[in-house]
């Protein structure tokens, strides 16, 4: 390809040339910038919204670097045995911040493990289950301790084991990543 246009070329050839030279140039210019932008880690605020996938509810969650394991508000937590394995039955009862409605669903899941929690009121054993949760544009399958967080401001608390899969934390900001995962069809609230 000539670096300088020959004198008697038509306008059309010129535009073709422009297209031929400018577009690759443009791509070459933007490619490193795009690649670099991709490398920069994602940043989350100390509060974010997430979709708790089993109930399709959008909730507020607190990103807590002081906690190791994530935890989720659950009611009627009942351990039981199934085929000799440890399972737990519990109710997710959350307010969907999008519709403003309460969503409700009883779940039965295998217990991953039990954690011992040290609190002001002594020790406590809580079951840990794996639950899918949408943060930003990704569904994360994360371990949550189940706990009645009724009197807490946020029904979901994200600890370091989950934060490690996400990115960096900026405690001066909130709600930097809206959850955008498609939610599967759910039965109406209250029906089981």
């Amino acid at each position: 390809m000539p670096a300088v246009l020959p004198p008697r070329e038509s306008f059309q050839t010129m535009t073709t040339l422009l297209r031929a030279t400018l577009l690759p140039l443009l791509l070459a210019l933007s490619a490193p910038a795009l690649a670099k932008a991709k490398e920069e880690p994602r940043v989350f605020g100390w509060l974010e919204k997430a979709i708790v996938m089993p109930v399709g509810a959008t909730v507020k969650m607190k990103l807590d670097s002081g906690a190791k394991t994530s935890s989720m508000d659950a009611r009627d937590i009942t351990p039981f045995k199934r085929n000799g394995k440890r399972w737990v039955r519990f109710v997710l009862h959350l307010e969907d911040k999008v519709s403003g409605e309460d969503v409700y669903r009883e779940l039965e899941m295998p217990v991953k493990r039990y954690v011992r929690l040290r609190g002001a009121g002594g020790e406590d054993r809580r079951p840990v289950v794996v639950l899918p949760i949408c943060i930003g544009d990704r569904v994360y399958r994360e371990e949550f301790t189940l706990r009645n967080r009724d009197n807490m401001l946020y029904p979901v608390l994200i600890g370091r084991t989950t934060l490690k899969h996400m990115g960096l934390l900026d405690v001066t900001r909130t709600y930097l990543n809206d959850p955008t995962c498609p939610v599967p069809e759910l039965r109406p609230a209250g029906k089981r």
Partner: protein, 190 residues
Amino acid sequence: MNRLAALLVATALAATNALANSPNRASEGERVYGWLEKAVVLPVGATVDIKLDSGAWTSSMDAKDIETFRQDGKQWVRFDLRLEDHVSGAVRHREMRLPLERITRVRGAGGEDLRPVVTLPVCIGDRVFHEQFTLRDRENMTYPVLLGRRTMKELGLLDVTATYLNKPACPLARLDRAAGGKGDKPGKGG
């Protein structure tokens, strides 16, 4: 066509710029801290482990024999700072008397608790921060100092996959001045 190409260049550049500066991406040169760091608690000169806790608003520090009292019509706090210095292994302690900033209400599993708040200088990275700490007997806790969001917002971004990214390295002259200052006015690092 010419104009279209120019427009394309402009939009593409704008788009890449927007991507590079998008609010949920870290930008180059931002300071990053691990969820554990070391800091020097200046009044006793002890280097301790601190836990960066985004779940807490106010920072807190282990203290013993905490008492509030009145002097010249103002509220003060008397307490003992007793911290193990990670550099020498020795326990450093000093009785402190500082003006009471305020009292915080702490909600815990065991109900509500009232705790005094004072301003104390700590060295994190290469800066001295005069920060508010609630005082609390944290004897049974792993880390004597906990940094809440109120302090972390002066620092930078948090990477929970990392620990000890910033060694405390405040100039000695500044350390002496900060440690010796008797409750000098609270400020943001220096």
